[in-house]
Symmetry: C2
């Protein structure tokens, strides 16, 4: 679908090439992509830290281990998946900023980004919520009395996971906006 | 913003009234609203059942009670909120099907629905995930040995909550679609 502005200005659509982009809109798109990149980087950092904190949360065989708790395993898995996804998407953003074109075909790319952002945001939130419930339960029990450091490290990991979710949520908003732009104007260029 | 079709057909925009709706699009909108109503009703039923199952999950002072577990309190609160919200939104849908107009101004209504669907979907998912983590923890412990019925009733409540989330997710997709339609055509009528 072409932008209705062409017709509103009283010009025939043929006068402008179908993929004409003004310098202003290219600059805007670059700024927009840089913002997405920043959010993806933040999400990557938080989820990676969360994964590392959870993965290293064991202190020998006599102390509690993160592998003993299903919810903590889920926290690690979800954070690790989002870390990998954010890393891949950072690459995609950098590519787009440098070359001006998407890695996948444009239609596929905008829907791929938005769909995955949504699904992974739900997954990360549910993992962190499950982890929080587990941490609440452990709080007054023997596990935390035996090894307080284990519990504190779990809390930090979950808090970092929530921060990762927050930035993934921002990415989700921006990629949703891109999808809407794409549906309206048939191109992610018209910001 | 007006629909670009008016201009594409070579007609002056003044010839058609700004809120002209064909019988076909009115019928389509009614069908669309009925679908939303069905999903809201399903969401309402599941969340209400989940709340009732959790609220009645106590068997005297010698047995475990749902109020003893923070995660279960969260499950009940989230499900109760979504129940009330779905009930209100069902009223809004019925009003729209009967009168053909929205309760709030159209712009506000489409964004209100979409925003609340999103936020409540995240809330319900996190509550159910927290409840699941708690149920996992209780599974092998004394609580479930002392009162197996308590644990089973919790599982049922959480499962119903997930079903409610599923239908709320469908509502979210449809209200997202309505927002996009509204942004593109300036009216929820152009399906």
């Amino acid at each position: 679908m072409q932008s209705p502005q062409y017709l509103r200005n009283g010009e025939a659509p043929q006068r402008l090439p179908p993929h004409f982009h003004s310098t202003v809109s290219v600059q805007k798109l670059r700024r927009f992509n840089t913002l997405i990149l920043v959010f993806r980087f933040a999400s990557f950092c938080f989820c990676l830290s969360s994964s590392i904190f959870m993965f290293t949360n064991s202190r020998g065989s006599n102390f509690p281990n993160w592998t003993d708790f299903q919810a903590f395993r889920y926290v690690l898995a979800a954070n690790a998946i989002v870390t990998l996804y954010s890393f891949a998407e950072m690459g995609v953003s950098v590519w787009e900023i440098l070359t001006g074109s998407t890695v996948l075909p444009e239609t596929l790319q905008v829907w791929f980004d938005f769909g995955h952002d949504q699904v992974f945001a739900y997954m990360l939130l549910s993992a962190n919520a499950a982890g929080t419930a587990m941490a609440w339960t452990l709080n007054g029990q023997d596990t935390c009395t035996a090894s307080n450091a284990f519990c504190i490290q779990s809390y930090i990991s979950i808090a970092l996971g929530f921060a990762g979710f927050l930035f993934l949520g921002f990415c989700c908003l921006l990629s949703g906006f891109r999808v809407v732009c794409f549906i309206i104007y048939g191109s992610r260029f018209h910001l």
